[in-house]
């Protein structure tokens, strides 16, 4: 019971805070004070670890939980630099003339949405604002549903709502198709053969946006959001290498390191890597969204994890890991 009480208290506070976030938002001064208190707590952990007492994992969980939740109520931002690979993708999109057709492949599901959804939302808003036509597909079953969330987010923008894009003319959702990389391969010959109708069973030939769109040679750019297989690697191996269509991608932070060789070789036209890539993309497209908010939370969590790693290594070097009862 003693161990559960702090967790219950934390959960209750979190639920209360969710419903009263605006009233609980901390001023800049309080935010800095809370950050300092968190730092002092880490120093206490360091002292205890050096003295030979290991920290129970529940305390580690508590630190991570606090470092993730508190930034949501903090009132400061940190400067963000746009990395070269994000700039490359944005420059490629910016060069597209009005009316260009971009194939947006949403290849992820809700677990990866915190990282990839902000990228999709920013892209969709930017595309609608700049008269870029968007053809949405998904190689994952939930992909087209996540794409609809991006479309709804874009349509909710007041400026875009003044001149809303028209379904079937400015954007279309062709839905999910099973077959993994064979779908990409088939689209290289005929997109119609893989997507004979859209998400709402409208025949391919009845959709104005798709008139004249036979295969990749009629697509100006592919924007892929990927959380695994099938995803960016398959798009590069087939769409870029076999059919020569330029592809830019947004990946989760776990997958991004695997596709850096494609960025370096020029096969991938830009990369948005993880939450920071999404925040940078929001900054460069001037489409503010959730990524910047989430990134502050992630920043604190990263610092706490690094702090614990360093504390553990300090204890190793001090050589004072004695057998004493753990804290907590």
């Amino acid at each position: 019971m003693k161990k559960i009480i702090p967790i219950i208290v934390l959960l209750i506070l979190f639920v209360i805070a969710l419903f009263n976030k605006s009233q609980l938002e901390m001023s800049a001064g309080v935010s800095i004070l809370v950050t300092i208190l968190l730092g002092i707590a880490m120093i206490v952990v360091l002292i205890l670890t050096i003295s030979g007492r290991s920290i129970e994992r529940r305390i580690v969980f508590l630190f991570i939980g606090v470092s993730l939740i508190l930034p949501f109520f903090m009132n400061f931002t940190l400067p963000l630099q746009v990395s070269p690979e994000v700039r490359t993708l944005y420059d490629a999109l910016a060069k597209l003339p009005k009316g260009s057709k971009v194939l947006a492949s949403y290849d992820y599901d809700p677990p990866s949405a915190p990282e990839l959804q902000p990228m999709g939302d920013a892209f969709m808003k930017w595309a609608f604002r700049h008269d870029i036509k968007v053809i949405i597909i998904g190689l994952w079953p939930q992909g087209p549903l996540q794409a609809n969330l991006s479309v709804n987010a874009a349509l909710a923008d007041p400026e875009i709502a003044k001149h809303p894009p028209k379904y079937g003319v400015d954007y279309v959702n062709l839905g999910y198709q099973s077959g993994n990389e064979f779908v990409i391969q088939g689209m290289g010959t005929s997109i119609r053969s893989k997507f004979p109708s859209d998400l709402y069973n409208t025949p391919y030939d009845s959709i104005p946006l798709l008139r004249g769109v036979e295969n990749f040679s009629n697509i100006d750019f592919v924007f892929n959001l990927s959380a695994g297989y099938p995803g960016t690697v398959e798009w590069v191996q087939i769409a870029v290498d076999r059919f020569g269509v330029p592809v830019g991608a947004g990946n989760t932070a776990v997958q991004a390191p695997q596709v850096y060789p494609y960025v370096e070789s020029g096969q991938l036209t830009g990369l948005l890597g993880g939450m920071s890539g999404g925040a940078e993309f929001e900054k460069i497209t001037k489409e503010p969204g959730q990524a910047n908010t989430f990134l502050l939370s992630q920043s604190f969590a990263h610092v706490v994890v690094i702090g614990f790693i360093l504390i553990g290594n300090v204890a190793l070097f001090m050589g004072k890991t004695k057998r004493r009862p753990p804290i907590g």
């Binding site: 630099q81 599901d109 677990p111 915190p114 064979f182 998400l199 850096y260 920071s276 990263h302 190793l316």
Partner: protein
Amino acid sequence: MRREIPLIITFIAGLVFVVQYFIPHPPFDAFEQVFTNWFAIVQAFAIWLGALSLMKFSMLKIRRKQKDWFMSVIIIVGFVVMVAYGAYDGFAGMHASPTYSFRDAGTHFDWLYQNIYTPLTSTMFALLAFFVASASYRAFRARNLQATLLLIAGILVMIGRVPIGDWLTSFMPAHYQASNLATWIMNFPNAAGQRAIMIGIALGTVSTSLRIILGIERSHLEG
């Protein structure tokens, strides 16, 4: 024939895709279209196979009252509710005026997807953060040179991929700020290592695929 027929099917399918890659002209492109369509159909059926297997396993667990059998009840209830509401919204949408899809905003299915499925799956994924932190504290030690290099690279990438890294290293020259160091690590040592891994995997895949197509490797036929 029980072993020969699958071997023949494997050989023909593999041969068609290999030949089609190098000769993408009629009639080989037509074969490729047929086989990729068949693959898509088989994969679609595999989704149902997975779902039905899960239902069968869950029902057996409930019937035998095995440990945590109540979780199997939740699985079956969740599955049935999503399918039922999806079917209901689908049929209702087909006969409504104007017609709508079960995936459209405002349907029961959409509510379940946005308010139950999405938060639950996101939460499961998010739990990893806590366990990674705990595991890092306990196991990430600089015991030797390789571990030390991994530790330094990991810390630099972690701190460089968030804006707090640049804020902490803002006093340093631009090339040595955290984000630029992280970018250098990703673009050079990481890319080199990933290329080596990719080439190794590709060579292994070619070797294994040839063995399977030629029937030398038959482990996929067992069981």
